[in-house]
Structure formats: structure tokens, C-alpha cells
Subunit: 145 residues, 2 copies
Amino acid sequence: MKKWEAQFTAYLKDRSLTYTPERKTILEEIFSSHDHFDVESLHDRLRERGSRISVATIYRLIPLLVESGMIRPATDRRGRPTYEHLFGHRPHHHLICSRCGKVVEFRLDAAEKLLDRVCERNGFSPFDYRIGVRGVCAACRREER
Amino acid sequence: MKKWEAQFTAYLKDRSLTYTPERKTILEEIFSSHDHFDVESLHDRLRERGSRISVATIYRLIPLLVESGMIRPATDRRGRPTYEHLFGHRPHHHLICSRCGKVVEFRLDAAEKLLDRVCERNGFSPFDYRIGVRGVCAACRREER
DNA sequence: CATATATTGAGAATGATTCACAATCGCAAT
DNA sequence: ATTGCGATTGTGAATCATTCTCAATATATG
């Protein structure tokens, strides 16, 4: 059993909810990729798989996944709602160019210790963190002149 | 003239667009607060001010503000689209409880040095950064048992 | 196996966002 | 100041995503 499956079934059991085949199928599809997803394309992917799960079921599942900390709402560059799941990647961070939208990923393990201390002081048990830095990339800076 | 006004008028001029009274009013309202905003509540605030600007005008302005780097799309806890503007606050960060949604703000100047080094290596000129830590707060952890 | 509750799909209802269009506006060139 | 032209606006209609309703199933429990 995958880690995400264990976490989600525990969450469901805690609230007397059930782990239905539909929910299992949707989760499998979500966690089969690391990419962000939106409802429509997730629904398409499920249909390609041969599933006839309705969009309503997806919409109904999402709040549970958010609540349980499996996914989180995000937004694409144009502000459209997407979701990203929180398993299977080690924390990675982003440099985002405000001018051209380019995104550079980086890792920064050194930050973890600092943040652990902050969490401790505030009674938080962290399970994920993200750093986003906004600025202007070298190419755009050159172009500006 | 405010910094944001200078930046936006420059952006408009560059594309032969005009800085109309409506746009000025909307910008003033957006930058009069540090909070995130959504279209509906921004529209309400404008009406309270006595303005009759239509929502369509707001919707039409937003892509320009995003493009010009004045605001950025964000998302509230439930995934609803909001925007935050990018002027005038010192960097602050968030601990977010995945269970109950509580948000604790903190500051962490020590991170800045680490991030400056990352930026330098990648040729970025940063002007803002945000750290989001997701976890479970003390109250929710207690309740879980 | 019977019961109570949760879940589902379909389609209707809602609400947010975009579009179309006719009436203004603002700027630049006279 | 006047004219001309593209940009901008408000209105209301159209579209699109999301939520809701309801009747039919499925699931867990005793």
C-alpha cells in the first residue's frame, strides 16, 4: 500500500467515510504523475483510462484531499485553479521571473533547519514547505537596456 | 507619484494603452491595502467609495496588472482565486495548518542571505520572496487523539 | 440479511468570468 | 480648438466552471 493510500484511508476512517473504487481510481490517477492538475484534465485522463467517473465525484473528492493534506490548491500563471499533490517529491523551490515567467527550480536543505525551529516555537508539525522567489532573470535584465 | 503608478503608466505607454480615471481608481483601491483581494470584494470596496465602475472593467484590468508584474494570482484556502499586490510589504511568511486552515505569520531574515546566494548563482535579481510551510497545528494535533 | 448512512451519476441551478456591441473617451496631428 | 481613430467603458447576454438536488446504489455494521 502506497504512503498516500495509507494516509487517505486513515483520514476517511476517522470520519466514517468510505474508500470507494471511484476514490481509489481518482487518487491513482492523481498520484501517477508529479504535475499539477486541474479538474477538467484530470477528468479527461480518467476517461482515457476507460473510467466513467463523473466530474461531480471529482469535485466532491477534492475538499477531502485538501483537508487531509494530500493536495493543495494552487494557481497557474494566469490564475486558473489547479492542484498539486504533496507526496513523492522532496521539497523544491522556485525562482520566478516576473517579466517572462521563467521558473528555475532549486533545492535548499539548509533552510529546513531554520524552518524546523520556527515550527517548533509555534507548535506546528510541518510536512512540506515551499519557497518562491520573485525577481527578474538575467536574460530579461539584459533586454531591459 | 507612487512607485506603483510610475511602473504601471510606463507599462501602458509601452503598449499604447491609456491610464484612464477608472484604472487609476481601481489601482488606488488595490494599493490602499496590503491584503489579498478578490474581484467581488474589490468591486464592493469601489462602490463604497462611490464609484460606479463595472466588474467587467476590473476583469479587463487584471491581466494587465499581472503582465506588468504589479500583482500576482494567488489562491485562498479553498482554492478560490485571489490576487496579491507586490509592493510595500517586507517579506513575511506563513505556517498553514492543513487541518483547520489557521495561518501564522512569521519573519525570517536569516533566510534572505541563503536565498540571495541562490539568486546570484542563477543570475536573478530578486525583489520578493515567500515561504509557505504546511503542517498541522498544535490544537489540531491534540484533537486528533 | 436488514438497516442506516454514505456515495454516485445525471442533469439542473448557480455563480463567476468573458464577450459583443454601441456609446464615449483620450490622444495626436492638424 | 477640432477632427479622427483606436482604446475603453457599461450593459446585458453568453459561456464556463462549480455546486446542488435527487433518485438509485453501494458500503459498513450489527
